[in-house]
């Protein structure tokens, strides 16, 4: 009778022999596309960072509160793929599939690669199984953070569908950047958080927290370890086509280099009366979410 270690080793050896991965080149391509590099900012933005202030008045303030209801023809903000610029960005984005119709109620990012950023993130959403496969992908939020552009694209769920496909992206002005794909999660939770932790500017690292939150919430508080002050974020109102709202914010990492931790420990959503309406816990460490 073999002991546990021997049996585990047998499983491991078999997996190593029979497992097939896409290889290092695929990992490099995938990594480049998912990379989330952020420019840092000043300490003034550390203690309290509201999404609206990050976005700037030309972003959220001008956005219509509820998104337009589904239409049978593309709205004026929709740009069919044929109008997109040719492959002018970094090479790795050309492998993305056609995202189909992308609505842009918040307007497209400016700059040479703005359209391509939207298309890249929308392509990730298009891969997700939830929602209407032929329906539009919607750019629900965008903003800038010290020269970088971040985006959130989502696909409206079908009636009765309790999940949501959405992705966020963060790009440098050159169009290089990365995408986080959040896929379809059955039984859509009232609060989700994910993000990145090694967004570098000079010697300073920043982290991002991005997620979805129940529509009851009027404030999202992110708690950190390592003495990082809490971060309060205002949910981004995206209208009735989506069962949740979104939020995004950035925090300053406590160390100057080689800091790969995502220091988020807990995220709490509060309603207008200050009551807690949702909460999620996150263990520290790379690759984590809550």
């Amino acid at each position: 009778m073999s002991d546990l270690r021997e049996r585990l080793q047998e499983l491991a050896d078999a997996a190593a022999r029979h497992g097939r991965t896409a290889g290092p080149q695929a990992a490099l391509r995938q990594g480049r596309r998912r990379r989330l590099l952020l420019a840092g900012g000043t300490a003034a933005g550390l203690a309290l960072v509201l999404v609206a202030s990050l976005l700037g008045s030309d972003r959220l303030a001008s956005r219509p509160a509820p998104l337009a209801p589904p239409t049978t023809s593309p709205p004026a903000t929709t740009s069919p793929p044929a109008t997109l610029p040719p492959e002018t960005g970094p090479p790795d984005v050309s492998i993305l599939p056609d995202p189909g119709v992308v609505e842009r109620p918040v307007g497209s990012p400016s700059g040479k690669y703005g359209e391509q950023m939207v298309r890249d993130v929308a392509s990730e959403v298009a891969r997700c199984e939830g929602g209407d496969p032929d329906g539009p992908k919607v750019l629900v939020a965008r903003g800038r953070f010290h020269g970088r552009t971040w985006l959130i694209v989502a696909k409206p769920p079908r009636p009765g569908e309790d999940w949501l496909c959405w992705s966020h992206g963060l790009f440098e002005a050159s169009g290089a950047g990365g995408i986080g794909n959040h896929g379809a999660i059955p039984d859509l939770p009232p609060l989700q958080a994910s993000g990145s932790s090694d967004l570098r500017v000079g010697k300073q690292y920043w982290g991002q927290v991005v997620g979805t939150v129940t529509k009851e919430a009027t404030r999202v508080r992110v708690l950190f370890s390592s003495g990082i002050p809490p971060l309060d974020l205002a949910p981004i109102q995206v209208g009735d086509r989506f069962p949740v709202n979104f939020y995004s914010g950035f925090y300053r990492q406590p160390h100057e280099d080689k800091n790969l931790e995502w220091f988020v420990t807990r995220v709490i959503a509060y309603d207008r009366a200050g009551r807690k309406v949702a909460e999620c816990q996150a263990a520290a460490g790379p690759g984590h979410s809550c």
């Binding site: 499983l11 078999a14 997996a15 695929a26 990992a27 263990a283 520290a284 690759g287 979410s289």
Partner: protein, 165 residues
């Protein structure tokens, strides 16, 4: 692998081992392939820094373990009916005993699986297991004890046979 060479060399030298370590955690070979590949993708963009780590493989393993835990939590939210209807997990050909272990591991909470694999397969000390999973040493010991007990019960074998001293 400290001060190591190219990412490709690192990948080729470690991917099999990491697949082997993640498979008992995920219980599904395809799932293990996905989380390992994703962890390598995250390592790829940080390679300039990771290559100087004493053990960059530990970083990739940690990310893969976290990704596996995230996926397990997502799956847990699925309806049990859906889980029953889902295809059986992909398991490479192994002995009956190892197959029984894979089945038994799959019934344990993800944290217990991770701790058992990191301690008994990867041979990490308790402190290193705790650091990898960002939990306390005491929690590791507790998870180990509960996991071993549960495994022995699932396998119908006495604990001392599974964990000879």
């Amino acid at each position: 692998m400290a001060g190591g060479g190219s990412f490709e060399e690192f990948y080729s030298g470690t991917v099999g081992r990491l697949l082997g370590q993640l498979f008992p955690v995920t219980g599904d070979l395809h799932e293990a392939e996905e989380v390992v590949q994703e962890a390598f993708a995250r390592a790829a963009v940080r390679w300039a820094r990771l290559r100087d780590y004493d053990v960059p493989e530990a970083w990739v393993r940690r990310v893969a373990m976290n990704l596996a835990a995230d996926r397990a939590r997502s799956l847990h939210r699925q309806a049990s009916a859906l889980l029953r209807l889902s295809p059986p997990p992909e398991v490479p050909p192994v002995s009956v005993e190892a197959l029984a272990l894979a089945d038994a591991l799959r019934t344990l909470p993800i944290r217990q699986r991770q701790v058992i694999v990191l301690y008994h397969l990867v041979d990490l000390p308790v402190e290193e297991v705790a650091r990898t999973l960002a939990i306390r040493d005491g929690t590791v010991k507790s998870l180990l004890a509960r996991g071993r007990r549960a495994l022995a019960a699932k396998l119908g074998e006495p604990e001392e046979a599974l964990y000879p001293r």
